[in-house]
Symmetry: C2
Subunit: 213 residues, 2 copies
Amino acid sequence: MGTSSTGLSGTERTRVRRLPERAASDRQELYDVLDAGRICHLGVIVNGSPRVIPTGYGRQEDTLYLHGSTGATSLRGDEICVTVTHLDALVLARSLFHHSMNYRSAMIYGRPRTVTAHEEKLAGLRAVVEQLTPGRWDVARQPTRKEMAATTLLALPLAEASVKIRTGPPGDDEEDYALDVWAGELPIVSSYGAPVPDPRLRPGISCELPHSR
Amino acid sequence: MGTSSTGLSGTERTRVRRLPERAASDRQELYDVLDAGRICHLGVIVNGSPRVIPTGYGRQEDTLYLHGSTGATSLRGDEICVTVTHLDALVLARSLFHHSMNYRSAMIYGRPRTVTAHEEKLAGLRAVVEQLTPGRWDVARQPTRKEMAATTLLALPLAEASVKIRTGPPGDDEEDYALDVWAGELPIVSSYGAPVPDPRLRPGISCELPHSR
């Protein structure tokens, strides 16, 4: 069993027992968690209250791009928190108390900026599309100038971030290992179901599944 | 294609084109989204900044119970937002602009209270355990008095909530339906992988998969 918490920035809220020599692998860990996700949960403050919004995102090097259509009105310059979570397995212990889950989770804090430069906006949108639906950027119709203008894209630096990962079997109390209760991990697997063609799809066009990641 | 947004409470932030006669089905919709989930994303404000934490939850009638060990220090009486999201399908359009996702999402706002009464705490913990690992409450060792005391359980009334659901094919621009691009829905399916027994599991104990929901 292992639970690792990694702060990549040294601020109070992301500093978690970090050894300097782990810095490079920590950053790779952050990339891995982000790159394996499909959607994030975006935390904002609206009229003094927290709000958590599921939305699309993409990464390019050390920038996270967010599709700003959802709740974007409140995001200009304000601090946000972006969380990406993978639930990898249910962890069944012999005692209810030690039931847990194996997961990977990344949390990023910062103030997003609105992307206005055309080149960066195109690259950022590509990252967002390819994150959710890999391989589609090159096959679908490209955005028009008007569509680009109608799309808000936010950029968040991967400057203040932390990663939490739990792996392995349950950690039961010593005396409970004698119990007649099954214990272990039950992996949760995500896969694609059979594609459902658009009712208006023209005949003779086959579906290419998005690349797996 | 359909996107429905449903406010169940009539406050500004959850009021979304709601017809009074839909109230009963709206509430059932909220239950359905919550009951089908495994984890939620909990939004809190810590030192003036938003924070989004993945955590376990369970529902009993019109109360949502939250396992309070994570970030619980900041939760006493403060307003929180709990979001549960299901990503049901990738929606592949002919244009990049109309790429989307089919999802169900529930958002609940409120101020949680800490559960102290023994009976309610036991029932609430049961709801949390059964939400993540259905069927385990009756087979694993019950919590001791000490374990109960070491566990913080929060209760949030399902009073102010909204549900958003998108279903169906993409909505492409009329002229794009002539394009040679596959379009439709690609369902995302979650299933259990092969159980991984705890290395210290006693011989002769077989794994019963949690009930499906």
